[in-house]
Symmetry: C2
Subunit: 380 residues, 2 copies
């Protein structure tokens, strides 16, 4: 996994580092009516449904654009104009679903917890019991704002028991963490080509219960974001409704094959967990503190507190690491000064150790001292 | 331009054939906060504004997704909810603007002419005089349904004289046909990375009058399609508001450099005109008839009538040409049985002659006889 020479490793929530072989398939052009391309679309869709455990119940809809395009499309298509959405919020991506719902004119209420606190499934049950108008519940599986893993399975049980429908933003989770539709009841789940499945950015997808989609004709607030019409067209023609990002799709087809070769969700998740363990252990050994306790930490991206030493300036830290070949990410939580380091993409344990060595070197260059507190070893 | 071996040439309206060098820049990954990537975005935007002759007045907004995403974004952002749109229609892309307006809740009227007939600027003037509620006029520059070139400059004069604002779908024209904002008054113009500028598909752009954009805050029906917010964010951060299709953008940056090296709009347009002349002359010599008279034909894509010989079956014709390395396109006009051959993308006169030879061979294989009528030579 060290097949890059002139480019840095991306330890970010995306765009992230992809394999050379994934990128190489972009060296040709495909016609959108071409049999080979049509077969590729079908293969990608079948693979996604298989990963979601949804062969009996769900379908996969591919959508041009960034992941947020698919989140807006999911809410706009699946929540009827007379529906009402309960949005669980503990970070920027939960807040974004509220913003999307407001702009596109869907009624919603929120249940918000602090950015380091998962929602309590009992509290969700209480809101649903008290507000029979709520038809759908939306939640983020892994909140990359903090790196927190939300209790998807537990919330899904509560939502199903109350007879409501669940919509999941699984952007940075799908492909590495379990979201099996046979175990977790949901109507729709969104993710992107360029997160744990390690394609290149440019498109996203929605795994959607077919019955819910069939009932959603005419709901959407937009033509291009209408998942029902996108689905009907692709089912009929095997092609995309509007010009397909052919190179991005071909790269994703290859990335899915590499995901399978790595052992699918279990294999990919195991590598990310090792990356995360190595990262957290190494950072703690240098004195850094994680925002989250290990029990809430998803193996996707880790938020660290900015050291108290005034010689630590994030932009300088970022630039110096960049020059050593590692790109990290600024913090996003509102309540603390932090930065983030991602564990996903084409990164190995050796890459994480390389990043740790670079961080050690940069701290020394900057003269930053991080007092090592007595912290527990990672138990992830 | 014959650097492909195992892939066909795409004689289509897109996705189309791009240069090897354009695709090769996709062999690396970029972080979205990276200085190099931020500089690339700025360079691309400046280049587009320059091509549009809009340095004094306009800005370029990049948007994830297919071209239609940008058309919907243009209408949704720039036509206020109390506005009214006049849409000039003579093909599928004009009709699509009406469909978009209807779904997103913008009031509109249409002025429709047959698919082989451009709108009469005097008729546009009459509608505007009779309906003072109309605030905006939308038109398609080159209707790829037929290949017809609409009278953009003439309509623009009429719209400006009536004090209304012009929105242009220049999808398959920008980069090869003139759309200079100093000569043609418009508020916004949409095109795609993957048409005459010969990038790969996956994103589009809107050239927009800055004053119109500043007045458009809060208009949009969608978060992801809000051009005002996309613009404000990119101006402030130099980054895309939602995950950028980094590889697609890098390829476009390279494609723009190759466009400049070819002589910009004049050079690119001249190559396409030669391609078109060679194609039409060669097809007429084999007895094919074009849908349009030469005076209405844009040098982008040409619609031919299906030969009357019953041995001509389009799907077989398509498949046989495909096996010889040339991908063509089905017809789209409603009033006649036709097929289309594109002149755009990384295609040379020699490629067009190769396509003609292949067509001759396929007709002979199929036993199709096309009687050569006494047709005038192309005067394009």
């Amino acid at each position: 996994m060290t097949d890059r020479t002139d480019e840095p490793l991306l330890l970010t929530p995306g765009p992230l580092t992809t394999s050379r072989t994934t990128k190489e398939v972009m060296l040709r052009d495909w016609g959108s009516r071409d049999g080979e391309f049509i077969a590729m679309n079908a293969r990608v869709r079948d693979h996604l449904v298989e990963l979601a455990g949804g062969a009996e119940t769900h379908t996969a809809i591919l959508l041009q654009g960034a992941g947020t395009f698919a989140v807006e499309a999911m809410i706009g298509t699946l929540v009827p104009r007379q529906g009402k959405l309960l949005i669980l919020i503990n970070g920027a991506y939960g807040r974004r679903m509220a913003q999307l719902s407001k702009v596109i004119g869907r009624t919603y209420v929120t249940l918000e917890t602090p950015e380091d606190t998962p929602p309590d499934p009992a509290a969700v049950a209480a809101v649903l019991a008290a507000d029979p108008a709520v038809t759908h519940v939306a939640m983020v599986y892994c909140e990359t704002t903090s790196g927190l893993l939300n209790p998807l399975a537990e919330v899904a049980v509560v939502v199903a028991a109350a007879g409501r429908r669940l919509l999941i933003d699984a952007m940075s989770a799908f492909g590495a963490l379990p979201c099996d539709a046979r175990e977790i009841r949901y109507d729709a789940l969104v993710s992107s080509f360029n997160k744990c499945l390690e394609g290149v950015p440019g498109a996203a997808f929605v795994i959607c219960r077919r019955a819910a989609l069939e009932a959603a004709a005419g709901n959407a607030h937009s033509v291009v974001l209408d998942l029902h019409d996108q689905w009907v067209f692709m089912e009929r023609a095997g092609q995309w409704r509007f010009t397909a990002p052919t190179h991005v799709i071909a790269a994703f087809d290859r990335a899915l094959a590499e995901h399978a070769a790595e052992g699918g969700i279990a294999g990919r998740g195991a590598r990310y967990r090792r990356n995360c363990q190595v990262l957290i252990a190494g950072m703690r050994a240098m004195g850094f503190r994680t925002l989250l306790p290990d029990a809430l930490q998803a193996p996707i991206i880790v938020t660290f507190h900015i050291p108290s030493d005034p010689r630590f300036a994030f932009e300088e830290f970022y630039d110096r690491l960049r020059r050593r070949g590692y790109v990290i990410y600024p913090g996003k939580v509102t309540a603390a000064d932090t930065f983030r380091i991602g564990c996903i993409g084409r990164l190995s344990e050796a890459d994480m150790r390389g990043a740790l060595t670079a961080i050690r070197g940069v701290l020394d260059e900057m003269g930053v001292r991080v007092p090592v507190a007595a912290v527990a070893a990672s138990s992830l």
